[in-house]
Amino acid sequence: MSILVIAEHDNATLKAGTRNTLSAALKLGITADILVAGYNCQPAARAAASLAGVNKVKVADAAHLADGFAENLASLVVSIAAGYSYILAPASTYGKNFMPRVAALLDVAQISEISAVVDANTFVRPIYAGNALATVESKDAVKVITVRTTSFDAAGDGGSAAIENVLSPADLGCTTLVERELSVSERPELGAAKIVVSGGRGLGNGENYQRVLAPLADKLGAALGASRAAVDAGFVPNDYQVGQTGKIVAPQLYIAVGISGAIQHLAGMKESKVIVAINKDADAPIFQVADYGLVGDLFELVPQLTAAL
């Protein structure tokens, strides 16, 4: 029952979700191998080797793996897949992009975004924006799985796995990177933050969003998030979106400001430990999931809250 976890990383460090994916893998077996595919990615490989439960780190270091293109990644994973019964990656935009290619090339199903492991063949996954949970059993010899990282704890440190180089198949040469505009932020990563302050259409515009929410987030050391409406209206970039088709978050504290609570939004945050909602509409659906609801004008209440903390 060998298990392969595909690490998500930026060549230097591992992305937080890699640890959660490993801990999902360790529900299926005692140890797992990790593949680190990238360019000049030895530091990420060393970080992977130090995680508890890792048997071996396989490193594919090549210029054409630098940008994480799905075509090259999938062909690499398929080239080393023999002998593995499970192949797992985080259900981030990284994992969602290439894992279905791996599954199709192996002629097996992908089991998307599992939230629990029932047994060796059976998994739970949310469907319909998390309004139902399906328990599915795989009939395939190799299980290609993406993992909802908020549903599994982060694997700890303490390993000292061997690092082994693997050759990567040639560049497929069909894709080139034109530009990357990554958001730079001093704040914690949205998907892994302990506290998230999230704003919706009620903020009115991007300037208000920053003026009202940034001081609160600063005070709490929180990540900033948003509803789709706030992203569509250009208040904040796309990577702020929380929800069914955005990011899934499950922080200790989620503060929803001027967000109505559409099911697609709830899908991304209703596993948060404590939810606070601030909204002027006492009937807004967000109050149905909020532990603490405060009805009123956010432009008065949020600055008061920031001052009181």
């Binding site: 981030s92 992908q110 469907i127 894709t175 796309n238 088709t245 109050f287 009805v295």
Partner: protein
């Protein structure tokens, strides 16, 4: 360029419907529930029609794999400006277990027949939330892909696509033919006008069967049960900010 665009679309429970799990926990209730085109697929149809209007494509063909009733979304797509529609018909039992790998294989067979220069699909069907089919089709064809698109430019045999990724935005150039999957901000789909709805009734709609395409649509995943998630109950209303701060400070390990 005289490119044809193939747009796969899926009929799903309308995004406004609050779904219910069947009493026997076998599935989500679909009887007497409003069904619509998957929202991401509307965006895909819109993008394809715009590329045709811009002279980049000559024909937009929409396809769905589903039951006979799924002709309704094909007609909707024709009313939005698609030229021709194909239903790959499966029976009700098959449609309940039709999974992305099988759909990707059906689409591959159609790509073989239609020879499109580009496939534009949705990034995710909002019923199964799988987010797989486009990538699988691309892999089976040996084509490049550009998923989660928020901007598409076609020129010189290439698609230059801006993608919504976790860290922000990424722009790729992929050689054609390719598969592109749509994200929410690619465009805002138009509404069908009454004259266009009337015209759509006369546009060609072909019906094929999965068997005639030689594809095995048997499921690889067996659904053992479908359950409601644990309900989150509403907490309390606090009267003012001071009370909220007090509550939060008394919650363990939060602030």
């Amino acid at each position: 360029m005289s490119m044809k665009i193939l747009v796969p679309i899926k009929r799903v429970v309308d995004y406004n419907v609050k779904i219910r799990v069947k009493a026997d926990n076998s599935a989500v209730e679909l009887d007497n529930v409003k069904m619509s085109m998957n929202p991401f697929d509307e965006i895909a149809v819109e993008e394809a029609v715009r590329l045709k209007e811009a002279g980049v494509a000559v024909e937009v063909v929409v396809v769905t794999c589903g039951i006979a009733a799924a002709q309704d979304i094909l007609r909707s797509a024709l009313a939005l400006g698609a030229d021709r529609a194909i239903l790959v018909e499966v029976d009700v039992a098959q449609s309940e277990t039709l999974q992305p790998l099988a759909v990707a294989k059906l689409l591959k067979a159609l790509v073989g027949q239609e020879q499109p220069g580009l496939v534009i699909c949705g990034k995710q069907a909002i019923d199964d939330d799988a987010n797989q089919t486009g990538q699988m089709l691309a892999a089976l064809q040996g084509w490049p892909q550009a998923t989660f698109a928020s901007k598409v430019v076609i020129a010189d045999g290439k698609a230059t696509v801006t993608r919504e990724v976790d860290g922000g935005l990424e722009t790729l150039a992929v050689t054609l033919p390719a598969v592109i999957s749509t994200d929410l901000r690619l465009n805002e789909p138009r509404y069908a006008t009454l004259p266009n709805i009337m015209k759509a009734k006369k546009k060609p709609l072909n019906i094929l069967t999965a068997a005639s395409l030689g594809v095995d649509v048997a499921p690889r995943l067996i659904t053992r049960s479908v359950n409601e998630p644990p309900k989150r109950t509403a907490g309390i209303r606090v009267g003012d900010v001071a009370q909220l701060v007090d509550k939060l400070k008394n919650e363990p390990k939060i602030i």
